[in-house]
Symmetry: C2
Subunit: 354 residues, 2 copies
């Protein structure tokens, strides 16, 4: 039986081994993912990102625990992949795992894996994508992708998700962490965790004013909608209003989902059920509007384009020696040749060598 | 005489024509830039970025005006390239130009050009780099690169600069604009423009607390240093302290320059001379620490790598038909083949066609 077949038959050990192969970028791992790819595309991918200190890990645990409880007889299974692009070590990740083990261990419907940055951040995003595909093929219904929100790499990783939660907490650097690296632009749901702490209103106001900047449309935006969230009927009514007013456009779908702001206290489990309801509502919204299909297609296209680039560059690198590259770079630094000429010389060299 | 030769002889008309060629990505433009490249690398490139409403354009005008005044008999010339990645139209840019014309027109030591996004943002960054090279070869001593600070593209454009100014203003969305898309991470100087408005202390406090997060070293960081800025002697003393304490590392250079916070009122010219002094001080700092050379080399290397990728991809595209690409993408979306397989099939196809 191949590794891929073992994964499809539900072997946790095989899944763990496959993920290690994917992390190490082995040919065997890649071959297994190739074999598994037709079985992917069924899981609901939920990204969870936010600054350190927001309590993301506890929140992810609680989401997993409550999802399993709500699933009941339905046997919905959940996988967690925790990615830390800021650390080349697995220290933090392992610590997080220990806490998780206490809450979630022994439940065969839960699978947890931590990943830390080993080399390039781009490589981490690609590896995470592979790990998520493995979990998806293995039949997990919800996959939680947890990242530390601090830069472009996290945004890349979060883009894997269908539904992205951005987690805030009161009193972190004057609410200024909130907006780092355009993280708000990718939020489908905004969660204020540790909502029993002072300053929660300030955080909520800051998020509200950011949302107002992002969603200025008077048809769909009303302050008092935020706390309760919208119903699908609200969206349909808003869409009809847009059509009547002649403003319906390709941006309508985006305009129709305004991220609701939710409050949670993950350590006590408060607000987690409500959060799961909103996650489910967002999933339903994506399906009913056709946005899910559009996002999947766009994501696969950008993954293809990225891999095309990587394949072309790596084939080129295998044909050109390091010393040729260094020689061209030196000429460039001395301004003897232009960047375009240097690139052309290097590419022509490899073509000639074929 | 070639276009490049005319530019080198100081023809403003030739420069304007070359820039249009560069913007349109013509072969003639590229050839001229190739010819001009050995004459580049002399100008001081100053990036100016910030959210809409901060008064960036007025500030850039004032910097240019005062730089010309201070230059006096020395005949230092200044060029401005204003880039608006948010707009596919030149409307805003043209408006800005009209204001500029009033202040700066008729001065042969000033050259102004606006650029708006025409296609991809990546393309705009590359075009801006070409325009700056043309101005540099034409002998302008300072080149001001103005961008609207709103995302990754602006960061890319700002990376062209040796010295980057991030412009803020009081009362813009609770000082939250400040931190969008990691713009603070690229700041060498922080400018609070419109500093006669209420709320200037709040803005300054927000910037200070951001800086404290970014520069936690007790050796070099003292609150009261910010308003006055540091002298080079301060940096040297701080560096020696670091060496004594055994903390000296590759991050020392970065740690030694803490962005000073300056207040300006561009419409009245207040604080602009002080700002120019700080720009000059930063330039001196870059030269004396060897950081200038390191930045130039790193920038040229990343430009080469980018152009290598583009050259490889565009050669590949010329060998593979659109329908082949679409067929592979469709198989991928139907999950018949994996992204890796699709990329390999497409790359192998083009190799076979060579």
């Amino acid at each position: 039986m191949t590794l891929a077949e073992e994964v499809l038959q539900g072997s946790r050990l095989a899944l763990a081994r496959l993920i290690t192969q994917v992390e190490n970028g082995t040919a065997q791992g890649r071959q297994a993912l190739d074999e598994l790819f037709p079985y992917t595309g069924k899981a609901h991918l939920v990204g969870v990102t936010g600054a350190p200190g927001t309590g993301k890990s506890s929140l992810v645990n609680q989401i997993a625990l409550n999802y399993r409880k709500l699933a009941g007889g339905q046997e919905k299974r959940v996988a967690i992949v925790a990615v830390d692009p800021t650390s080349p070590f697995t220290g933090g990740a392992i610590l997080g795992d220990r806490v998780r083990m206490r809450d979630l261990s022994g439940d065969p419907g839960v699978f947890i894996r931590s990943m830390a940055s080993r080399g390039s951040l781009g490589g981490l995003a690609a590896a995470t994508s592979g790990v998520v595909q493995a979990m998806d093929a293995a039949g997990f219904d919800m996959i939680l992708i947890e990242t530390v929100g601090a830069g472009q790499a996290e945004v890349e990783i979060a883009r894997l998700a269908h539904t992205t939660l951005v987690v805030e907490a009161p009193g972190l650097g004057d609410d200024i962490q909130a907006i780092k690296a355009g993280i708000l632009e990718i939020a489908d749901l905004l969660v204020i965790n540790k909502a029993d702490r002072p300053g929660v209103e300030t955080t909520e106001r800051a998020l509200l004013s950011m949302l107002q900047l992002a969603h200025p449309s008077p048809h769909v935006f009303h302050d008092n909608n935020f706390k309760s969230g919208h119903s699908l009927a609200d969206f349909q009514a808003a869409e009809e209003a847009l059509i009547r007013s002649g403003e319906k456009s390709s941006r309508t779908i985006e305009a129709l989902w305004i991220p609701p702001i939710l409050r949670t206290v993950a350590t006590e489990g408060t607000g987690v059920i409500e959060l799961l309801v909103e996650i489910e509502r967002h999933c339903q919204f994506l399906v009913e509007t056709g946005e899910l299909q559009r996002r999947q297609r766009a994501r696969l296209k950008s993954e293809l384009d990225l891999l095309l680039r990587e394949t072309l560059v790596s084939r080129w690198r295998s044909q050109v020696s390091e010393s040729h590259y260094e020689t061209a770079l030196e000429s460039l630094v001395k301004r003897e040749i232009s960047p375009w000429r240097a690139a052309e010389i290097l590419v022509d060299h490899s073509s000639g060598a074929v």
